[in-house]
């Protein structure tokens, strides 16, 4: 009997998150390869090659959520990383430096012994992709050089003009083929194209069930608490090319569908307003942000951030152009007009009453167009918005009092608009 039989989605999530890290530790112990990967880099090639995958962004977010970021940030600070650099990157460089020291001296530094960080092994190679920022190019350059390991780069050029042109897809597809050649050399074995097809199919099934979950937010009242997408995200990032993600997401989507049929909603009967969250979660203060909104009876039913992993493509397309398109069409890798269109669509589907924009100290790409995005959207759909200051993993930036005051103002306007519309 399978270990996971009878588990609820929440239990599956915890189980498979732990198992993915365990797989990597076991691979390392066996002498097999471990790869650290950018969160939206294609895992299909490495998984086909049987390489165990670790995702530093998810790992850093986990450290942040468990209140362990400061120790790692301080290690990075001592190495010369400016506080202006992305906090995911700084937490990860801090963690990497600790692992490196342990590997060289045979002694775990105290900061690592006391860290709540999930125990993951050092990589033998890294793969990065700049579809969510060019910082991931700089960060992975540093990992590769500091560890003297190969770095596979998938460069998806910023789409300043939409739709995505064929010549961009051709360039990206060529890089996919180049990555395969690099892996053949690194692994010392030929690429298994039959297995590659199975991995692509698996990825598509994971994505399908991930989208089923997100789609549940369209119902009013919503059976889905949008913040749960942040929790389940770990698996769409880290395990989308394995059945771990599919099994968990299918279970969660099935539970939500059953709840919908039974009239069980996320906020029971308390849902009054619905909002869109734009930006990365504030992991060290996730509980505060969720509880503050719940206390105001406002539920998140739209967010483009988890939707980054809506990586649907034609798995039968041997030109790999369809896969290239999936990895480059990420809304923050496109022009302002397309970004606005994506958010408008999410707002419409989630039937939201307003938006919270996270001005993220760590993420220039997801912050520097907030003003323009918000203004254009307000002009199109008239919905109110607020901007709040935060950071994805550096706990020092977020102010609970500022957050509470601003979202209270937003909720008041959203409620007044609903009354006026009645």
């Amino acid at each position: 009997m399978s270990l996971t039989q009878g588990m609820k989605a929440k239990q599956l999530l915890a189980y498979f998150q732990g198992k993915a890290d365990q797989d990597a530790r076991e691979a390392k112990a066996r002498g097999d390869l471990v790869c650290w990967s950018a969160s939206v880099a294609p895992p299909e090639f490495c998984v086909t090659m049987g390489i165990a995958m670790i995702y530093p962004e998810t790992h850093a977010a986990g450290i942040g959520a468990r209140k362990g970021a400061m120790d790692m940030l301080e290690v990075a600070d001592r190495k010369g990383y400016n506080v202006d650099c992305c906090s995911y990157g700084r937490v990860n460089m801090g963690y990497m430096e600790c692992l490196k020291e342990a590997a060289i001296t045979g002694v775990k530094p105290e900061v690592l012994v006391n860290s709540p960080a999930a125990d993951v092994p050092l990589p033998d190679l890294v793969i990065t992709c700049n579809n969510i920022c060019n910082t991931l190019l700089k960060w992975y350059e540093n990992l590769a050089v500091e560890l003297d390991i190969p770095c596979i780069v998938i460069d998806v050029p910023f789409n300043h003009t939409m739709p995505i042109p064929e010549y961009a897809k051709a360039y990206i597809a060529d890089q996919f083929r180049n990555a395969i050649s690099q892996l053949e050399v690194i692994c010392g074995k030929p690429f298994d194209w039959k297995k590659f097809k199975e991995v692509k199919d698996q990825t598509q099934r994971s994505v399908y069930h991930w989208n089923r979950i997100a789609n549940m937010a369209q119902y009013k009242p919503s059976p889905l608490n949008g913040f749960d997408l942040f929790n389940y995200m770990a698996l769409i990032v880290a395990c989308r090319s394995l059945d771990y993600a599919e099994i968990t997401f299918k279970a969660f989507a099935d539970e939500l569908e059953a709840n919908l049929k039974a009239g069980i909603y996320a906020f029971k009967g308390a849902e009054k307003t619905r909002f869109q969250w734009e930006g990365i979660a504030i992991w060290p203060h996730l509980g505060h942000t969720f509880k503050a909104m719940k206390g105001l009876n406002s539920i998140m039913t739209g967010t483009a951030y988890p939707a980054l992993w809506d990586l649907h493509y034609d798995a039968n397309d041997e030109s790999l152009h369809s896969m290239a398109e999936a990895y480059t069409r990420i809304y923050i890798n496109t022009c302002l007009q397309n970004k606005v269109d994506v958010l408008l669509d999410i707002m419409e589907k989630g039937k939201v009453d307003g938006t919270v924009y996270h001005l993220n100290r760590s993420c220039k790409l997801m912050s520097f167009l907030n003003v323009e995005t918000a203004e254009i959207i307000k002009e199109k759909n008239g919905l109110p918005y607020v901007s709040i200051d935060g950071d994805q993993t550096d706990p020092r930036v977020f102010s609970p009092a500022q957050f509470d005051t601003r979202v209270q103002a937003l909720v008041e306007i959203m409620e007044a608009n609903l009354v006026a519309a009645e």
């Binding site: 400016n82 990157g89 060019n134 190019l137 460069d155 910023f158 042109p165 323009e372």
Partner: protein, 374 residues
């Protein structure tokens, strides 16, 4: 006034008065100017169109007020200045602005131009070792060219492009020689003058700039090299301005014997080579050949080693890292470079460059103590 002083004075005037340089060009030719945002735009195309390419590298000491509405305080200093100038309409006389997007800040800035000039955006490929990257960039350049032709109502012929490429290559070669001359004659070319010679090329036709710099080099080389009793440094970063900051280098007799500044030597590091392929292809290839820059992806990160080599080759005493405030690509390069400098026993000092700042006392103190240590 000696001829050297006269040429330096002329170049300093151009560097300090870009608007006048543009207006003079317009009056002289009847044609306009095109803004060139940092970094690595195919400027040769603008030159071939008969327009004056104008580098847009922010301003000095301008207080940021209007830009605050559109950019949070943690956007890099240079883009805060560029945004402020956009809001003030300072760029509205430009016939077009060309934008590359090699960092996250520039991706965003390319989508929110507040001036009236049409904006032409293109993306550099970052997996630069691949031939597919060259092909991608050729297509991007073809689109830039088409948009320029439509906006300026001109036709950019291959012959004109080849001519412009030759003019740019010559200017780059002459500037590389100038770097050497400035290192040999710090008594003649101090830090302020050195910067002015570089900066003036942002606002002049390159053939005119070449002519002046050639003459400058010839005049200086006709005099004997004098021993230098100060210190020598290599500087690296986005830019090293304003003159008040460079005055401190002069005051403490710190000669800049080589640089790796995006506004200066990174622009003259690689030429558009002869060989097979049309002009756009060869221009694209030069991006592949670029090295040692935080904005050109390099998984081997040779920048630190390149700077160490420059230090050894020039006999410099140290490296000064001019860190553009809130420029994350540069900030990410720093820890690796710093470790490499330390491992080689090369002294280095990081100073922050903030274009809004008007007081330099703190940097002065730090540079003074640093020089005493060398």
């Amino acid at each position: 006034m000696s001829r050297v002083e006269a040429i330096l004075s002329q170049l300093k005037d151009v560097a300090a008065n870009p608007k006048k340089a543009m207006d003079d060009y317009k009056a002289e030719t009847g044609k306009g100017a095109v803004g060139i945002m940092p970094y690595y735009s195919p400027e040769e195309m603008v030159h071939a169109a008969g327009y004056l390419p104008m580098g847009l590298w922010g301003a000095q000491g301008k207080a940021i007020s209007k830009a605050r509405t559109y950019l949070p305080a943690f956007a890099c200093s240079i883009m805060q200045q560029v945004m402020e100038l956009q809001c003030e309409g300072a760029y509205d006389d430009l016939s077009a602005v060309i934008f590359s997007v090699p960092c996250d800040t520039l991706k965003c800035l390319s989508q929110k131009w507040k001036g009236t000039s049409p904006v032409i955006v293109f993306t550099h490929p970052q997996n630069r070792g691949l031939e597919a990257a060259n092909q991608f960039l050729v297509t991007e350049y073809e689109l830039v060219k088409k948009q320029l032709e439509a906006t300026l109502d001109v036709k950019i012929s291959n012959a004109a492009l080849e001519n412009s490429i030759a003019i740019y290559n010559e200017n780059r070669a002459v500037m590389r020689e100038f770097v050497q001359v400035a290192a040999d004659y710090p008594q003649v070319i101090d830090a302020v003058s050195r910067h002015a010679v570089f900066k003036a090329r942002q606002f002049m036709l390159k053939e005119k700039h070449t002519e002046l710099v050639k003459e400058l080099i010839a005049e200086i080389k006709a005099t004997p090299v004098q021993p230098w009793d100060g210190k020598k440094v290599v500087v690296t970063g986005i830019l090293l301005e304003p003159n008040e900051l460079l005055d401190i280098f002069n005051e403490f007799k710190i000669a800049i014997v080589d640089d790796d500044l995006a506004q200066e030597s990174r622009q003259i590091r690689v030429d558009v080579l002869d060989g097979e392929g049309g002009p756009l292809y060869r221009m694209a290839k030069s991006w592949q050949q670029m090295y040692g820059c935080s904005l050109a992806t390099d998984t081997k990160k040779i920048r630190g080693k390149m700077l160490i080599n420059k230090t050894i080759q020039t006999g410099a005493d140290a490296i000064v890292v001019a860190m553009m405030k809130f420029c994350d690509p540069e900030e990410w390069d720093y820890p690796v470079m710093y470790r490499e400098f330390e491992e080689k026993g090369i002294k280095s000092l990081m100073i922050e460059v903030d274009q809004e700042v008007t007081s330099f006392e703190q940097i002065k103190t730090r540079l003074q103590s640093f020089v005493e240590m060398l």
